[in-house]
Amino acid sequence: MSTRPHPNPLPEGEGADKQNSLPSRRGAGVGAARDWPLWEVFVRSKQGLEHKHCGSLHAVDAQQALQMARDVYTRRQEGVSIWVVPSSTITASEPDDKPAFFEPMADKIYRHPTFYTIPDEVGHM
């Protein structure tokens, strides 16, 4: 598992800017880095729908992140509700784990309704 939503794709030490390189920058608290912390933004486009990830931004704290998300991601009424989450708190599955993690589900086709043949006269089921 990785706690970095956007891990540096480079080997350690090859980042373009070392003093700001991931993951220390992402995990840094206020005042610890020149950059403000990164927040992931989720927007609910209308009542009844789920919040959906729409991007990220830098802000000093949660309140400012919300205000900036409003200005950056909902200038045309794209949302009725916003979540902001510190990027450093997101735990993501590793791409390398993809086969081990997801493939066990591939051969369980009996979990899908189309696996079962039902006579036509039964109608919708």
């Binding site: 980042g15 373009a16 700001n20 045309r76 590793e94 791409p95």
Partner: protein
């Protein structure tokens, strides 16, 4: 706005030998994904040169959005009506927002926001050549919307299918918002063309000054574009500079006729055999002079940008101090 179909190296190219040979299996998987038109995501392995190219292109694009706020921002306080002022404010705010989407996309490649801004402020990073031309008249604001945003849309729509996921997604958001930019410009010009002879002359004057720099926005001719082939292979670039430019000319000629302006090119004419317009030679010496810092407004644009950043330092400091104070208060309450 505003990318330029031009991937200008920001500095001396890194020696290829210094890039470690990629592990074969990883490279093969990457190539397979590109061939299958699948997206590459930040967590995926990618060749170092692919990453570098994207950082350069996305950050140049982000810088262009931010610098692109200036030529039009110049007219916000002098817009001819409250309606036009509100429209222009919204448009310039959009450009700032587009810069932010793009900086975020660039950051997923492992570069920090500060280092990207430093590269812009020190003149190390490039931005679109078009913003180094002045907006002399109110008509320039309309022409920027019509032609500059029009050219940018032509450039940007194919990038919505770019192989790098975060860039493609940012471009989809941006393209959705661009249509308003072009339409408001064209409509503003239509209103001016119904005005006095002097007002119509000002529109024509603005078109005359912007036409050639806009054609140059699509970047050097295909024959001289060294990076294009690799960009195509990687699915970063989808349509060649010359093809995009041709598409733009063909789309714009009828619009100019509706508007009632002429395009300042005596060689511009319909070619029946090609079923496309022929157009005159672009002055590439001028283009390169502007790209390399010697356009009419390069120094002013950069100086404004640096000054705005420095003048905003106290706001950033205050926000940080406020956040630290709030955090300390919470900790004290909890104790």
């Amino acid at each position: 706005m505003y990318t330029q179909s031009l991937d200008v190296p920001d500095g001396p190219a890194p020696a290829l030998a210094a890039v470690a040979a990629a592990p074969d299996a990883l490279q093969t998987r990457f190539d397979e994904k590109i061939d299958a038109d699948q997206k590459i995501e930040p967590q995926d392995w990618m060749p170092e040169a692919y990453r570098r190219t994207l950082v350069r292109q996305i950050s140049q694009h982000a810088h262009s959005e931010i610098i692109g706020m200036q030529p039009e921002g110049n007219w916000i306080s002098r817009a001819p009506s409250l309606k036009r002022k509100a429209i222009l404010l919204a448009k310039v705010q959009d450009e700032g927002g587009h810069g932010l989407y793009l900086y975020s996309a660039a950051e997923t490649l492992g570069v920090g926001r500060d280092s990207l801004l430093d590269a812009l402020h020190t003149g190390k990073a490039k931005y679109s050549s078009i913003f180094n031309y002045p907006t002399l008249l109110w008509a320039d604001v309309g022409v920027i919307g019509w032609l500059v945003d029009g050219a940018a849309i032509m450039n940007q729509v194919p990038i919505c299918r770019c192989s790098y996921g975060p860039y493609a997604r940012a471009m989809i958001r941006i393209c959705k918002e661009e249509s308003f930019h072009q339409r408001q410009g064209f409509e503003s010009l239509m209103v001016q063309m119904q005005g006095t002879p002097e007002q119509r002359a000002m529109v024509q004057d603005a078109v005359n000054r912007w036409w050639w720099p806009v054609l140059a926005m699509f970047g050097p001719p295909d024959a001289a574009s060294t990076n294009s082939e690799q960009g195509m292979r990687w699915g970063i670039k989808r349509i060649s500079n010359d093809d995009l430019r041709q598409k733009f000319v063909d789309a714009t000629v009828p619009q100019a006729a509706i508007l009632g302006v002429t395009l300042p090119d005596p060689d511009l004419k319909w070619n029946e055999a090609r079923q496309q317009h022929d157009y005159g030679a672009i002055d590439w010496d001028e283009f390169w002079a502007v790209v390399n810092g010697n356009g009419p407004c390069n120094k002013e644009r950069l100086a404004n940008r640096v000054k705005a950043h420095e003048d905003g330092q106290w706001v950033r400091d205050a926000a940080q101090a406020h956040a630290a104070k709030q955090k300390a208060r919470l900790l004290k309450e909890a104790a």
